[in-house]
């Protein structure tokens, strides 16, 4: 039972690890190690990335190599492929602490898509193993200009030609594709007529960078996570062999549901970690800034904001770890994960906003990283399923069972 494993939560203070959740010494060490890694290896590069919008190659390589040396690279993958095999709760702790740092940089603390475990035959040596060893990087592409929340509305289509497939279409908003050696792409491979209208069949493909007919080009400039770019993928009569199919033909939704189910926990966990970093700035400022001859933290208008912030952060932390723990225990977790993603990402928006309010005008200036955290927070409510889609998942889960 989760409730039974809820130990006391440590009162927060600067530089403090916050939450204890039936955690073992190993859990603390995992979180502590990742946290000091982020503090020592990531923070000092952040300003450069913010200013230039790029991660210099040497810095990327250095972060990657250090992560490999620490045995943390691809730690979400099982021991059977030579990785650490962390469970969902342990991995959520890793993601939470990584969430403190710039996503452009923590991208190289590699966590390849779990979906690569669906690799079979030659795909194993060509994609899975190089990915978990840090030799090749991946990206994952579902979204299209005309198909966001409505994944099935995708137009990018593959048509059979002999044993090959010929692909045409466009994907956009694809994170990390500028560094990707290959991309896992979801493509429509047919259509079924159902009583509710036509329904696309979808297949996952593995496509190498540089494959003829496949182009990765610069996408839009995003207000969130500078340096963590989103790219546009174009398929122009791109011919893919049968071996490029990941999982079963027309089995795209199955691989998605099996493997991508848990990725929303990542957004929730990262939101919690970032919120804790932001909170420390707010707490410190409230305790040191003076107006009207006293610390602003003495004014209830400020101190109650602090109280609300930490309450929401702790709540989001518990919700997130509890949903991960449910997965580890083999319990249904779809609704719980959706709640964690929804609540943590919206909490981060409120916490970053309050942190700026507490800092007054200085909060908006780029002398402090607060305006960055505030901008970065915005995307968390959009990607990996918008807040509305999470609410849809949560409410359907409850109401469908009642026939409503």
């Amino acid at each position: 039972m989760i409730a039974a494993s809820l130990a006391t939560s440590v009162s927060s203070g600067l530089g403090e690890e916050a939450m204890i959740f039936g955690q073992t010494d190993e859990h603390h060490m995992i979180a502590d190690t990742v946290r000091s890694f982020v503090e020592k290896e990531i923070y000092h590069h952040e300003e450069l990335v913010e200013r230039t919008g790029e991660v210099p190659h040497e810095i990327a390589q250095e972060i990657k190599q250090k992560t490999i040396d620490l045995g943390f690279y691809a730690c979400n993958f099982p021991e059977s492929v030579g990785c650490a095999g962390l469970n969902h709760l342990e991995f959520a702790l890793v993601e939470r602490e990584l969430g403190r740092g710039s996503m452009a940089l923590t991208h190289f603390f590699g966590r390849p898509q779990n979906i690569l475990m669906a690799c079979e035959g030659e795909q194993v040596e060509r994609y899975l193993m190089p990915a978990v060893r840090g030799e090749k990087m991946d990206a994952l592409a579902m979204t299209e200009p005309g198909a966001g929340s409505d994944v099935r509305g995708m137009k990018c289509a593959a048509v059979r030609d002999g044993s090959d497939w010929v692909v045409n279409g466009t994907k956009h908003f694809i994170s990390g594709a500028e560094h990707a050696d290959f991309v896992i792409v979801f493509i429509a491979t047919g259509e079924d007529q159902t009583p509710k209208g036509p329904k696309k069949r979808i297949t996952a493909f593995l496509v190498d960078r540089g494959h003829p007919g496949f182009t990765i080009r610069d996408g839009y400039k995003s207000v969130s996570h500078r340096g963590y770019k989103n790219m546009i993928l174009e398929f122009d009569d791109c011919r893919l062999p049968a071996e490029a199919v990941l999982g079963e033909v027309d089995g795209g939704f199955e691989v998605m549901n099996t493997w991508l189910y848990a990725t929303r926990i990542t957004v929730a966990a990262m939101s919690v970690g970032r919120a804790r970093r932001v909170f420390d700035y707010a707490l410190d400022y409230a305790a040191t800034r003076e107006q009207f001859g006293q610390k602003i933290g003495k004014f209830q208008g400020v101190s109650f904001q602090i109280a609300d912030m930490i309450t929401e952060i702790d709540a989001a932390d518990l919700l997130t770890l509890a949903s991960a723990d449910r997965l580890d225990k083999g319990l249904p977790a779809n609704r719980e994960i959706a709640s964690a993603k929804l609540y943590a990402s919206e909490m981060l928006a409120r916490v970053t906003d309050a942190a700026i309010q507490i800092h007054g005008g200085m909060g908006l200036m780029d002398d402090y990283p607060l305006e960055r955290f505030w901008r970065d927070a915005r995307v968390e409510r959009i990607w990996d399923g918008t807040s509305e889609i999470q609410r849809h998942i949560i409410s359907r889960d409850l109401l469908r069972a009642l026939g409503a």
Binding site: G13, E17, M29
Partner: protein
């Protein structure tokens, strides 16, 4: 050779320390605790000696409350082979004084027969800087304090010490107690495989009574207070003004 590394659980160096209202000490309930940073350096050095083939086994020992087990797990995750926890207090606020710690360590040494003890030069909580020296006196072993470089060569060790005037190099006979300073090395992160392995490494639990040591305090803490607040500074317009102000303040 076996290396014994005493490690202390102290308030994390990042935590803002709060003095208890009654002035009896600092508040340690509900704050993040970590391994004393100097002890981390000692553990790192011991592991490096093992990696170089100079040491065969690294044993970490901690004396204090049961929660010090976490500190020992950190040492094991860094690469120590096994750990000994000597429980000497129930209340996290009880600090065991250097002499009692040294006496217990002497007992551990008698049992374990290490060839070298590597310890931090001091703990960042009370800055006593005494345990290593007392242990050397109790065992009759050589001591080398504030080490910034250590080279073991058979039955002697060459140690560079950070002293007030600069660096001093001494040669001591083994077995020895070496207390380490900040610049000796940069401690590693625990690797993930080692974190996962740490749980399986042996951690023996003992009590102070097992070593026949009375840990009752001999020192009385009269008062603990906040450090004096730094007075606000002023801006000066020129070098001349700076010199003048420094003279006024009696600083030059």
């Amino acid at each position: 050779m076996k290396v014994l590394v005493p490690v202390k659980r102290v308030i994390d160096y990042n935590v803002k320390v709060r003095v208890k209202a009654d002035g009896s000490g600092v508040d340690l309930a509900n704050v993040k605790m970590s391994m004393n940073p100097f002890d981390e350096i000692a553990v790192e050095e011991a592991i490096r000696l093992k990696e170089k083939g100079v040491a065969e086994e690294v044993v970490a020992v901690s004396i204090g409350v049961k929660q010090a087990q976490e500190t020992l797990r950190t040492a094991l995750a860094m690469g120590a082979d096994r750990a000994i926890l000597v429980i000497a207090a129930d209340d996290v606020h009880t600090d065991i004084e250097p002499l009692a710690v040294a006496k217990i360590l002497k007992g551990v040494i008698d049992e374990e027969q290490p060839g070298l003890v590597l310890c931090g030069k001091q703990a960042i909580d009370n800055d006593m800087n005494a345990t290593g020296q007392m242990l050397a006196a109790l065992t009759g072993w050589s001591q080398a304090t504030f080490a910034s470089e250590v080279a073991i060569d058979g039955d002697s060790a060459t140690v560079t010490r950070e002293v007030d005037g600069g660096l001093q190099t001494i040669k001591v006979k083994m077995p020895a107690i070496i207390s380490v300073d900040l610049r000796l090395n940069e401690p590693r992160y625990a690797t993930l495989p080692n974190i996962m392995k740490a749980k399986k490494k042996p951690l023996d639990e003992k009590t102070a009574a097992d070593y026949g040591v009375d840990t009752a305090p001999r020192l009385e803490i009269v008062k603990t207070g906040e450090p004096e607040e730094r007075a606000a500074g002023i801006k000066v317009g020129s070098v001349d003004e700076l010199v003048e102000k420094l003279k006024e303040a009696g600083a030059v």
